[in-house]
Amino acid sequence: MSVVAPAARPAASGSGAVLEADALRVQYGNVVAVNDVTFSVPRGSVTGLIGPNGAGKTTMIDALTGYVRPTRGSVRLEGETITGSRPHRLARRGLIRTFQSVELFNDLTVEENLMVAAEPPGMLAGLGRVFVPDRRQRSEAVRWALDVTELQDVAGRFPTELSHGQRKLVGVGRGLACRPSLLLLDEPAAGLDTSETLALGQRLRTLPEHGVTVLLIDHDMGLVLSVCDQVMVLDFGNLIAQGTPAEIRANPAVIEAYLGSSEASGHASDGGHA
């Protein structure tokens, strides 16, 4: 894929962890959705987070990105504590998430969905732009995001005119247009067919080359085990395993909690071949 990366976000440090969660807990009344989870996402990796439905995956993303305030514990981005920061501030610091239910801006075209993500946030500057002539060319970030997601052909369409798979990709592209240092993908493959999933996996694999670390949340074992460098397994809010895909496949606790069901083991064997 010949893709030109946009000017990379200045990285705080060359190596180490982009994101670290320390004893992160989210509790609603008596229900513990995320139970004292500690992990880190290494820079330049594609890290996977899997778990059966209801394991607390989306709650975890919400807590990491400021949509849910953790009951206790802390989150660090590039070494700085960000626990309790508002979502838009985290987004501007390079922590970008997508949504399981896509949530595109339906009044904007695909390209505009990406543009609004790539544009600087200053309101007064935006007001100033009203009074100067337009630059009629795509910004580098938008061009890059369109290239990576291969959405150039539908750039002028509205989200409602696209297939479900394409809409999911627009969600990913919109996240990329923000030039994230860490991209959290919430079930990007849900609702995609096998070939679409495969293509998506290949695209995700290339992102670290462009300075984007990926945290991939999915319940599709096949995708996660084939794409990720490191995988974490969440079950009933507990982190029950962590390791390379091979280690996860062999982990008895994971097999017990997740692969035990016949459907999931089918996915796992898919993953083995993929």
């Binding site: 990105t65 838009h88 949504f99 009044d107 075209t109 390209e111 609004v116 544009e119 935006g126």
Partner: protein
């Protein structure tokens, strides 16, 4: 002899509190009705006070003339049911309550049921349309003169401790408490209450169990309307009846309903009674503390309560479970704004030169209203925030224009800009609640703000000049006399150029970075935050821009009218501005222009119709009915419909030219916005 004097002092404070029980009872009962309607149908019915007002007229006409009144005009709107000496009180009440039940059922079935799952804007629009229409019908049929009524409940003096209180206040308060208890019991213990709660929680679930949510809502709606009518009748001897004040009972009633979080009957009853008592107490306090504003303080109180309720309870206001498919009104995509602007100026100048004095002033009025409507296009169309206070912002600017000219000696154009900036300050206050609340709740707070501005600011004669109003200095620019009275053409051209510039600004804003951020916030706040958009700041920024544009409109109106008074900026005018913009097409600049030309009371089309058929008096009614119809039938507005028609015509023409090959443009993608994207409509 300090002690006894202190005691009488104290007791007079208590007396005023008790006197307030009367209006408090009405607020409470209307608040209860609002809760019933909201819980069953998901609609905050802004027309609830107007319904009480209309039913009160029905009762009065029955009792004094023996005629049954209908909510329409021109056609005979009364039927004789008894001799002209009128009916007795009891049968009149009974007939009115049955009448109210039918009215509630008809409104629910024709207007609110179709809107059950519509976006907040459509539901707010529909109920405001009903409110404006009922108010306009009452003005046309019964005039704005206040009517009073002989006692209904026994009003004998009663001794309470050392005080003498008219007994009707106590009866009203007692009845209200009874109604509150009865409703709470019905909801808790009967099957009907259980099913209503079930349908609120989960409409589809209740339907699966064989309970039609819409039938349940209809029962609740009828009950609420009957209660409103009863309250409207029983309060008659205490207040006087006129179309405006009764309709505005909705503001304190909303305050009570909000404090009860649209669910607790007991809190609503207490809140309503307390609001009434505090309002009454303010009357006493005004005599003691003479530094208090002497007018409008009572009407400002519900505003404070609504704001407090929103701040304290916003996060906990329950959202009704519903099956939604949010469809926001379509937004326009201005194409070649500069060329459009130039051609608008040319066409406008020709029109101004050709028109006679009447029509020239109609054109200018249309332009000014279009300017204020563009502020609605920005805040409600692009950002999706319902503001019911835009014309009040225009009013702030209009009066400030005069004060700036007097105080600072600044005239056109600097004074106009400064005045519009004053509107921005107030606009930010109007928009502040939008940081925490959205949808219909924002409509409620902006309505309360508009009512408070109306009562406290525009009613303040040192600000607005009282009945005589304020005289406005004629605008001059570079020695050019822009005085509207001269021939009007130069002034007209100045207005034209300013409004077209505002339109050009809005178009460029829409197509640019801010417009995209605005639309992103409108379609999905969560997702907007996820890409780094500060949703709260974006909303406030939009409120500021919209306020500036409304302010420019208000300033121009001041220049045009030469003498302005508060009547030009009442709450009704703000509601009407939203109404006509919504009808025109709230997401489009052409919608604002259509609103100004076709629907504004002094605009071109109404002037034409007025000259032909003496039509002007019906403008408010038409705006209200059109608003409701638009909300129910065509939320995108008339210009969208006209646009569709135009597109079809163009396609038909193209088809003929191209020999039967229709262009494959998808319906929404009229044009790609920026250069470069691949061909639209390419096969996938």
């Amino acid at each position: 002899m300090q002690a006894p004097r202190g005691a009488t002092h104290m007791s007079s404070y208590i007396l005023f509190l008790l006197l307030g029980l009367g209006s408090g009872a009405v607020y409470a009962v209307l608040g209860l009705g609002l809760v019933l309607k909201y819980r069953s149908a998901g609609v905050v019915d802004f027309a609830h006070g107007a319904v009480a007002m209309f039913c009160a007229y029905v009762f009065i006409e029955l009792r004094s003339n023996g005629e049954l009144q209908f909510p329409w005009i021109i056609l005979p709107h009364q039927v004789r049911v008894a001799s002209s000496s009128g009916l007795a009180t009891a049968p009149s009440i009974l007939i009115t309550l049955v009448y109210a039940a039918v009215l509630g059922l008809v409104f629910y079935m024709t207007i609110y049921r179709p809107l059950r799952n519509a976006p907040a804007l459509a539901r707010v629009g529909a109920s405001i349309g009903v409110m404006l229409a009922l108010q306009a019908i009452a003005v046309l049929n019964y005039s704005t003169f206040a009517v009073s009524s002989p006692p209904i409940l026994p009003a004998t003096p009663v001794h309470v401790a050392s005080l003498i209180v008219p007994s009707d206040r106590l009866y009203l308060a007692g009845l209200t408490v009874l109604v509150g208890f009865a409703l709470a019991a019905i909801y808790r213990f009967t099957r009907f209450g259980l099913v209503t709660r079930a349908a609120v929680e989960n409409e589809r679930g209740a339907a699966l169990l064989g309970h039609s949510a819409s039938r349940i809502a209809a029962y609740n709606w009828v009950l609420a309307t009957v209660l409103a009518a009863a309250a409207g009748i029983l309060i008659l001897p205490i207040t006087t009846l006129n179309p405006g004040t009764y309709t505005l009972f909705i503001v304190p009633a909303l305050g009570a309903a909000l404090l009860g979080r649209f669910s607790s009957f007991s809190v609503v009853v207490i809140a309503g009674l307390v609001i009434g008592m505090l309002q009454s107490e303010l009357v006493k306090l005004q005599t003691v503390w003479t530094w208090l504003p002497q007018q409008g303080l009572q009407d400002g109180l519900p505003f404070v309560i609504i704001m407090l309720a929103m701040v304290l309870l916003a996060r906990r206001l329950s959202a009704r479970g519903q099956i939604t498919d949010v469809h926001n009104p379509a937004v326009g995509r201005p194409q070649r704004p500069a060329i459009t602007a130039v051609s608008c100026v040319v066409v406008g100048i020709v029109a101004l030169l050709v028109a006679n004095t009447d029509y020239r002033s109609a054109i200018i009025s249309s332009l000014i209203v279009a300017c204020v409507c563009m502020s609605v296009v920005i805040i409600t169309g692009y950002v999706g925030q319902i503001s019911l206070a835009q014309n009040a912002l225009a009013g702030i600017s209009a009066f400030m224009l005069v004060h700036i000219a007097h105080g600072l000696g600044l005239g056109f154009p600097l004074g106009l800009i400064l005045a519009a900036l004053c509107a921005v300050v107030v606009g930010l206050l109007v928009g502040l609640p939008a940081v925490r609340v959205r949808g219909v709740n924002l409509a409620v707070t902006t309505l309360a703000t508009a009512a408070a501005l109306d009562a406290l600011v525009f009613n303040n004669s040192s600000f607005s000049g009282g009945f005589t109003g304020l005289n406005v200095h004629a605008p001059h620019l570079f020695g050019l006399n822009l005085e509207p009275s001269a021939s009007g053409v130069t002034f007209g051209i100045a207005v034209l150029v300013i409004v077209v510039l505002v339109g050009l600004f809005v178009a460029r804003l829409r197509n640019g970075r801010l417009g995209r951020a605005f639309l992103a916030v409108r379609s999905n706040e969560r997702a907007a935050a996820s890409i780094g958009i500060d949703v709260a700041r974006t909303k406030l920024f939009a409120f500021a821009i919209a306020a500036f544009i409304a302010g420019i409109g208000g300033g121009l109106l001041a220049y045009q009218q030469q003498n302005i008074n508060s009547a030009s900026f009442t709450l009704w005018t703000s509601l009407t501005i939203l109404a006509i913009t919504y009808v025109g097409g709230v997401g489009r600049i052409t919608g604002a222009i259509a609103a100004g030309v076709l629907l504004a009371s002094n605009g071109v089309m109404p002037t034409l119709l007025d000259n032909l058929f003496n039509f002007g008096q019906y403008q408010a009614l038409i705006a209200g009915v059109a608003l409701t119809l638009t909300a129910v039938a065509n939320p995108d507005g008339v210009t969208q419909e006209m646009g569709r028609g135009f597109t079809q015509l163009r396609r038909a023409a193209l088809r003929r030219v191209a020999g039967g090959r229709p262009p494959s443009t998808p319906p929404l993608a009229e044009t790609p916005t920026t250069s470069g994207p691949p061909p639209v409509g390419a096969p996938r």
